[in-house]
Amino acid sequence: MSANAPTPKGKKTGPRTPMPEQAPAARVKNFSEVALGYTPDLAKAEAVRCLSCKKPPCRKGCPVEIDIPGFIARIVANDLDGAYKVIRETNSLPAVCGRVCPQEVQCEGQCILGKKHEPVAIGRLERFVADAHLSASACETLTGGDECKLVREDLKVACIGSGPSSLTVAGYLAAQGIKVTVFEALHELGGVLVYGIPEFRLPKAIVRQEIDAMRAQGVEFKTNWVGGMTITVPELLEQGYKAVFIGVGAGLPKFLGVPGENLIGMFSANEFLTRVNLGRAYKFPEADTPVIAGKNVVVFGGGNVAMDAARTAMRLGADAVTLAYRRGEPEMPARKEELHHAKEEGLILKCLHGPIEFTGDDKGYLTGVRLQKMTLGEPDASGRCRPVVCEGDTCEVPCDMAVVAVGTGANPLIPQTTPGLSVNKWGYIEADPETGETNMPGVFAGGDIVTGAATVISAMGAGRKAAKEIARRLLG
């Protein structure tokens, strides 16, 4: 495919440019990234499909409002620096978003081309631009000079947590010259991007590089500082931080509430993925954190985390990985691409099945699960059809490992240690949807600790709103 000559009009309506991937048979045996990214030629071939709409609907579909036609036009013009700058104006983590955003329901879902043909592969192009620019020179690219804007130490802001929402706040404020200190509880920075999303979907080196780019902008990072324990929100305010942003993510994994959940071999998705991703258990014993490599694995849930857990179990050498989901395949909240990849890799789908009971041996090891057949009933409050039990229709699935990926609840550490902070009945922090401010002046919150488990990009969208408001107040 040639990418040199201006593209004839007809070509825009052609299929999107595929992105090279590792073959399923090879990738299921390794933890390297599945999608390999565009080459410059492929990127340009895709970029020229963009219609450069005057009122781009794609931009409305983006929670951080990236000027999408703007950066794509610069790819066409061979100006990758310019393209990166356009993206970074509103998005602090382009290499991450290019990989993990559900573009099909956001920017790409709004693309005019998509109405009759295939939408522009905006996510792949974003990733291409970011990868081309991930380096310590982000500072230079962003400011046009060798140095970033002078950091004003007198205007300091604290972020608790170093996941997508906090990093967005840090990146945005640092670009305005505001001093930001990020407090992270774990030993590694990135939050869900490093403990949750697997290496084969988002290499940790990418996250590190995005963070290094922020460090070069003057953001200070402190690991092993537990918000609410090592330091509390009131203490940060006393220490002179002009604003505190709480972006601690979700926590407290939910279990299924059926007998046998504490058998050995039963994991929450958070534990399983944290062991493998943060603890690098995939290279045990070279890395010290162990994990059980199940041979027959059943994963519960239908979201992206369930897909990540299932595909991780395959890579650890499982003979069979079954995904049990209470509703049908069309109802699964996972990204279509993730489900497609997982099926290619051999995932066995058991839709319309929910767990009744886990069984174990006398030493406490998991040996199987009894599943209940379900059917779809009337839509519930979430708008999805409610799963209804098919009485008497059950089956047994033998398994030596099970992973529960049915969501998380609110982590109590911050609310418990921040007297007066308003939380809702589920324990999530209440924040103004427009500004992210909580009921405590100067204290902002965003991401999963406000909304409950959601996506990386929606957390970033919340971070961006809060950052704008903080900057407006501090800089006037």
């Binding site: 030993h187 090592t230 504490n262 050995i264 929450s268 944290t274 690098r280 010290d288 982590n411 550490l413």
Partner: protein, 285 residues
């Protein structure tokens, strides 16, 4: 260097040591019952250790560990002046301590004695009459006797071989004390799972409040993963954020023991490989 080891004391040569670590921000907040999570090397495992003592003025915390696997064996190779790569805390809910009408009996076994010490000290500071009850297989394996002597008007000791104190188990001493004492407000038990289970069994007929501190397997220690979950009164609780202390009568000890062994084969393999590489280094030098 951060988290510098200021003092190291071998409590039981080769198996148990005490470290006093420079960690001002943790020391400032550490309360009895809290723990830390540490990591010794890149690609190392996060392990929880109870804070045995804290000195906010000096900015130090004291931790005591039994060499049980790779991470603790690696920790044992560090000396004064070395830094601990990652140290995070204080974690967990602090012990519920206030002035009580009757005495508080603090029972400790093995390394648990060190963990119990911080709780006993807290009760002592709150003005409670604290009776220490500690046990070990033999005299040279008994920890923190002098430290407890300094805060408890009475320290009762048992050893399996009778080399120090009474020959027998701590639970026998505990039972006698419960029978003979006019008013016991609370019993605290920290030690191996069978000991804590036995403590709860002994206190049950007396109807006295019994608190145990659980040492479940943890990964993050901040309520994210649920590795540390335990059944307490039929409900699943997270030792890291709901505990680590629970009502001793309600804990499912059998499940706790089983779950503590979940990674035994991997832990052994990791430890064996570490010992090989460590021995290797020594013979070559």
């Amino acid at each position: 260097m951060a988290n510098t080891i200021l003092r190291k004391r071998s409590l039981i040569p080769g198996t148990t040591s005490e470290l006093v670590v420079d960690a001002p921000h943790i020391a400032a907040k550490a309360r009895p019952g809290n723990f830390v999570i540490l990591r010794v090397c890149p690609d190392g495992e996060r392990i929880p250790l109870t804070i045995a003592d804290a000195d906010p003025t000096a900015g130090t915390i004291t931790i005591v560990y039994l060499v049980l696997g790779k991470t603790t064996a690696h920790l044992e190779t560090l000396g004064e002046g070395d830094g601990i790569l990652d140290l995070c805390g204080p974690l967990g809910r602090a012990t519920d301590i206030h002035k009580l009408p009757g005495e508080v009996i603090c029972v400790g076994g093995g390394t648990g004695i060190a963990a119990m010490h911080h709780i006993a000290k807290g009760h002592h500071k709150a003005g409670n009459y604290v009776v220490g009850v500690i046990g070990a297989r033999s005299r040279e394996l008994l920890l923190f006797y002098d430290e407890l002597k300094a805060i408890c008007p009475e320290v009762l000791v048992s050893t399996n071989d009778g080399s120090f104190g009474r020959q027998g188990l701590v639970t026998e001493l505990l039972q006698e004390r419960l029978k003979n004492s006019p008013l016991v407000s609370e019993v605290v038990g920290v030690g191996p799972v069978p000991m804590m289970e036995a403590v709860a069994k002994v206190t049950k007929p007396f109807g006295v409040k019994t608190t145990v501190s659980l040492n479940s397997i943890m990964v993050d220690g901040i309520g994210m993963c649920g590795a540390c979950r335990v059944s307490v009164g039929g409900k699943t609780k997270f030792a890291c954020v709901d505990g680590p202390e629970f009502d001793g009568q309600l804990v499912d000890y059998r499940e706790l023991s089983q779950r503590l062994g979940a990674f035994k084969p991997q832990e052994q393999r990791s430890y064996e490989e570490f010992k090989k590489s460590h021995v290797c280094k020594c013979t070559h030098s």
